[in-house]
Amino acid sequence: MDLTVLWFWIVAFLFVGYFVLDGFDFGVGMSLPFLGRDDVDRRVLINTIGPIWDLNETWVIVAGAALFAAFPEWYATLFSGFYLALLLILLALIARGVSFEYRHQRPESQWKQWFDRMIIVGSAVPALLWGVAFANIVQGVPLDADHNFTGSLIDLLNPYALLGGLTTLLLFFTHGVVFVSLKTEGDLRERARRLAARAGVITIVVAAAFLVWTGLAYGSLWFWILAAVAAVALIAGWLANARGAEGVAFTLLAVTVAAAVFALFASLFPDVMPASNDPANSLTIANASSSTYTLTVMSWVALVFLPLVLAYQGWTYWVFRKRVTRASIEAAVH
């Protein structure tokens, strides 16, 4: 097998892992103003992702590093080209990450409010901008002969990309709210289920529009197959949520996110950064990749360690499988 093809799909897998996992904890963060009626509610919400947000977020670090190692040209073009968008994502992730740890350090409600706001904004901004970024990659951006991005931030905020951003924002939000109903009890659980039902309708409409637009403009056969899987899973997930089958709904929405992200990668292949101005300037898996030696070394490492990573992360989710209750929060020392 051609190692550049393998690594294209490993990079895709790592971004899928990131969006499936950090996606729903962005959703939990964004749900604070909708579901958190009092401080105990908000603490319940934050504690549903307390033990796992850090490992979820680490997926983007590993995805970025894998991109750097396997496709240095792709990494360089993407990260320098989307400079200000990535800056906003970084600032959001910084604000959000510290807030989880700092919010509970002091009892004053004003202190907590500050960190609540940082969690909400810090979750919404990356949920939106990652969608914008990936839609732009699929659509293609202006690149010069040295593969340097020649556009500006305004170019990135085009209607198609904004629709992509809205899709990830809504999808992550719904996925997160379903996760809340899966991980909480009583009133909060019921409110989350109802909110997911309402948000799910808008998500289905927006996601369908985005997938159809992508398919018509940039789609391949594999794109359509994967997009169909995503669409079916999304609708089935919505139905499962309506029936109160939370675990099934959560899993189906995870399938939706995974299939949709794989679909975007499928529509890219074998390009990695298509140039919108001149196809000759496009970055492909051939001209963006590392040497065969580097890819061989990395393949062995990934082969050994990725299954191990999945095993111990799966175990972590199993350890924290119980629902978070109001009683457990109220009983705990601060």
Binding site: P72, F79, L91, L93, R103, S290, V309, T316, I329
Partner: protein, 470 residues
């Protein structure tokens, strides 16, 4: 205005600022994870409540720091591509591999087990829970190895070939990359120094309470631990620092010359180490200095009659090799950062030795100035670490990868000065605000003292630690 919007200058300032800031949290994370692991092990073995309280006390401070280390670390990972795209294109084939290894082997491990440790007190069996903090500590140390191996490539590039057709460096020997002599010396030097920083924090926190004659049951053993670790890791830091300077002389002689501000090649007794120098601002004329003869020769070659090449000779050599240009780092930065690193580091070993003597057989000194000195252990040991890295990185200039690529050729060509200025201001503001919050939280946690852990379970005679929630 043009000066202000020079993308290269701004990108360098941003890299320096964000990296130093990130590194304020890294050594403490490495050192305190192990500290918590040691005390939790002591509690596991003895069941004594004091050890559990010490674990949770320093564990709490560790977590306040850890959050900052995580979020500022993502910036590092992105920044090579954002600001240094030409660098990423040229050496990504080599430099990306250790970063990917770091993520896959260490970051995942660390990030997963830290969650299990924080929230697993009441969910995991005691022994398994103890293992999670050890896993976190090991993860943090393993990650340090890979990032130091990556950095060592910038200091002493090995294991690669230039592919002329593609115009880039390509990895040809991963083993050579990971056993770079600079990495092999810099890794234990950095880890030992990280333990000094953590020991500094333990000493500072314990001294604050002991000076007030409170929490003696927990802070006495903590102080003793901190002092011993400071002495032990201080000696190791010195030992490996010596190995590192040998590697440095062999691979980057200009850095050693710049550390000493030695302009002409000197041998034997003339190869003296200046402890303190006053000179004209440009550094070319010396007005006054205190010098130890032979010491520079010994540090550089481990012999008393060795020669140390001077800046002028090296500059001439490099011009012949690499073409016209200025190959000297900023001398006053390298000269003084090298001295402050060594001076502050050794001062801490001395303070810790004196501290062990003053607290021998359970004594507690009454003099307030003793405690005041002890409280400065943490900030000053951290400062020693930071100036050490400033020396390493500034001493590499004007190269980004020694002998292969200049820093000025590495910057992203399509990122404008204005964009970098915006990000530099944004990072400065958010980092500044978070620094204020963070320092206050740490001081608050220290002053609050070790948390109570309640009564032991009457049946088992052991404490059942309460669940942690955010």
């Amino acid at each position: 205005m043009n000066e202000l919007l020079d993308p290269l200058l701004l990108a360098r300032w941003q890299f320096g600022l964000t990296t130093i800031y990130h590194f304020l949290f890294v050594p403490l994370t490495i050192g305190l994870a192990s500290t918590a692991a040691v005390f939790q092990t002591a509690w596991y073995r003895t069941g004594k409540a004091e050890y559990l309280r010490i674990t949770r006390f320093f564990g709490g401070i560790f977590l306040i720091n850890f959050a900052m280390g995580v979020v500022t670390g993502i910036v590092q990972e992105f920044q090579f591509g954002m600001n240094w795209s030409e660098y990423s294109r040229y050496v990504g084939d080599v430099f990306g591999a250790p970063l990917a290894l770091e993520g896959l082997l260490a970051f995942f491990f660390e990030a997963t087990f830290i969650g299990l440790w924080i929230f697993g007190w009441d969910k995991l069996p005691r022994g398994l829970h103890l293992a999670t903090i050890w896993c976190t500590a090991i993860g943090s140390i393993v990650s340090a190895y890979f990032i130091i191996a990556a950095n060592a490539f910038m200091q002493n590039p090995v294991g690669f070939q230039i592919n002329e057709e593609k115009g880039r460096a390509e990895l040809v020997d991963i083993g050579a990359l990971l056993t770079n002599p600079v990495a092999v010396a810099a890794f234990p030097h950095t880890i030992a120094a990280s333990f000094m920083v953590a020991a500094g924090l333990v000493i500072s926190a314990a001294a604050w309470h002991l000076a007030r004659n409170q929490h003696l049951d927990t802070m006495r053993p903590a102080l003793k631990f901190g002092l011993w670790v400071m002495v032990g890791s201080g000696l190791l830091t010195t030992l490996f620092g010596d190995q590192l300077s040998l590697a440095m002389v062999a691979t980057q002689p200009m850095k050693m010359a710049a550390a000493e501000a030695t302009y002409d090649t000197v041998c034997g007794a003339d190869a003296s180490f200046s402890i303190f120098t006053l000179g004209t601002p440009d550094g070319s004329t010396e007005l006054f200095s205190i010098r130890v003869p032979y010491l520079l020769s010994f540090l550089s070659t481990h012999t008393f009659d060795g020669c140390v090449e001077g800046i002028n000779d090296l500059q001439a050599q490099y011009q012949e090799l690499f073409g016209p240009g200025d190959y000297t780092p900023i001398i006053w930065v390298t000269y003084w950062s090298f001295r402050w690193m060594i001076g502050l580091g050794l001062a801490h070993v001395l303070v810790a030795v004196v501290g062990l003597w003053l607290t021998r057989r359970g004594r507690l000194p009454k003099q307030r100035w003793v405690w005041k000195i002890a409280i400065w252990s943490f900030p000053l040991s951290l400062a020693a670490m930071i100036v050490g890295w400033v020396f390493t990185e500034m001493g590499r200039q004007p190269w980004i990868v020694f002998s292969q690529m200049f820093t000025e050729s590495a910057v992203s060509p399509n990122v404008t000065g204005l964009e970098v200025l915006i990000s530099l201001i944004a990072f400065t503001l958010i980092y500044g605000a978070l620094a204020v919050v963070e320092v206050r939280l740490v001081i608050r946690a220290i002053k609050k003292g070790p948390p109570e852990v309640g009564e032991p379970d009457p049946e088992t005679g052991r404490h059942e630690p309460a669940a942690t929630v955010y």
